[in-house]
Amino acid sequence: MLKLLRLNKISRHHNELSLTSMVLVIQNTQFSFGYTKNLLSMDNSVSPQNSLVSVHNLSFSRGSKKIFDDVSLEFERGKITAIMGPSGTGKTTLLKLIGGQLMPSKGSVIVDGQDVHKLRRNELFNLRKRMGMLFQSGALLTDMSVYDNVAFPLREHTHLPESMIRTVVLMKLQAVGLRGARDLMPNELSGGMARRVALARAIALDPMMIMYDEPFTGQDPISMGALAHLIKSLNNIMGLTSIIVSHDVHETSLIADYIYVLSEGKVVGQGTPKEIQQSSSEWVQQFMTGAADGPVHFHYPAKDYLDDLLSIGKRY
């Protein structure tokens, strides 16, 4: 009972989320109390003991291009950790490596004590049931309504009766504010709404963690704010661990507890949002302020400009 009271207190703290979400919290205690407890007793240190996901000395290449070169990252339980970096640094690839959809050429990924790439197929699938992922496009199944999309993982993985599935689906949709949109088809949703439905679907099985792939890209300011708020409150109320991959500096800094900045396959900066803002690294500064030139050059590597103009060159 005491636990529930403490949970309710958290819920009241986020009074924007309605009563149904409190029920959602209570319901979550049955499935994911371990993580909720962790949330209540979390401290601020990043230590491997407190990590839900650890990436050790990871290397990954695509063809001859090295995407990651000996990268090590820690994702603390109950926290929102952001991975930032310019487009093309392999941020999405990192999420796929954590989810076990790609194999690294070297190194390991440990999720909740299990080495993702050493698991057998059914063990990996069991682990994935506890990992939610929000794709950039939402990845909703286009031949099903919003309601059926959220019900999809429940119907596939549980033997719950339809009446109970209905209750869970409506609670999840209420949590993302789209209970009224349950009968719409994915093609009738705006980009922001589609991502919120996908979020409801990702939390349908009460996962221990959620990975967000560029959640803010292409969103108007209102849906961007709504999503940021939703990510933060879901993380706190459900005791999730969140990994956000993004290049939206402002929104991500607002909600992240810890940030890694990646470039050219390496970690070039890490720390709390404040530490990152004050980082002395030229590279991190260029990224955070969005300067056109700096360590990352504006120009694609080319030979000398004047020489190039004066030479005859090949005909196009």
Binding site: Q101, N126, R128, G132, A139, T142, F152
Partner: protein, 260 residues
């Protein structure tokens, strides 16, 4: 010259790798069929979109092919005064060859291209990837029901094609050209062999259905996830299915009717 050889080698290697991927894919899909059986609604939905929606094109084509056969057959047979054989001729050509082959070609164009486009787009919009991350095997959930639906639909569609074709032949032969009604049906009944003609035709249609569905599903699953990639995959489905169906038809015909 060396460049040509190099390109030939690379292409051959790529084709064999693709064949390997396709075989692996087929194995997984066939194993996945076991998990479809306890969930018949998945199959029923696909039977509808693969089979039932192909009904109209198969019926109309069957009718016209039968009518043309009736007309052409009559012109040839009447020279020998053998119009009575028209019923047998129409039925045998339909059941042995045209039924399975033409309906399989239509099936590849109508249902196969739709399957490739659907699965290719699911891949392009990360739906398959999303399913994998939800711990749902897309091969079991998406591919296997469609494979089974193709396998079941195709022989039924071929049977429908042949049946409607015979009716078409009858309309032209008996209705328009005045062939004797009794001779038309009794000769068909007497000379058409169940095992040699009908059963072989059914076997052909099962093989064609299997190959056409396999190609369509694999091309979709293997498509490059862009709009151009999906459009190319759809084209490849129709072209490769047509080649495979016609090639296999020759082999199967040689095996089935070679000894006679």
């Amino acid at each position: 010259m060396i460049e040509l050889l190099q390109r030939l080698g690379a292409n051959t290697r790529a084709s064999f790798t693709k064949l390997g991927r396709a075989t692996n894919f087929l194995l997984l899909a066939v194993i996945g069929v076991l998990s479809v059986l306890p969930r018949p609604h998945l199959l029923v939905n696909q039977l509808y979109s693969v089979g039932v929606l192909s009904f109209l094109i198969i019926t109309i084509s069957g009718l016209f092919v039968g009518m043309v056969l009736g007309l052409q057959g009559y012109y040839v047979l009447s020279d020998f005064g053998a119009e009575g054989r028209l019923g047998f001729m129409v039925a045998a050509s339909l059941v042995r060859e045209l039924g399975p082959v033409v309906s399989a070609l239509l099936f590849a164009g109508r249902a196969g291209s739709a399957l490739t486009a659907e699965i290719g787009l699911m891949k392009a919009t990360e739906q398959l990837s999303g399913m994998e991350m939800m711990a749902i095997d897309p091969i079991k959930r998406i591919i296997s029901p469609r494979l089974l639906a193709g396998l079941i639909s195709m022989p039924l569609l071929a049977a429908l094609f042949s049946t409607v074709g015979v009716v078409g032949g009858q309309i032209v032969g008996i209705g328009l050209l005045g062939v004797d009604n009794g001779a038309f049906w009794s000769q068909m009944q007497a000379d058409l062999d169940f095992q040699d003609d009908i059963l072989n035709g059914v076997i052909k249609s099962i093989v064609f259905g299997f190959v056409a569905t396999w190609i369509a599903l694999f091309e979709g699953y293997d498509a490059i996830p862009t709009s151009e990639g999906v459009s190319r995959a759809t084209t490849r489905t129709v072209v490769n299915s047509a080649f495979s169906i016609l090639g296999l038809d020759f082999i199967l015909t040689a095996l089935m009717f070679g000894e006679n």
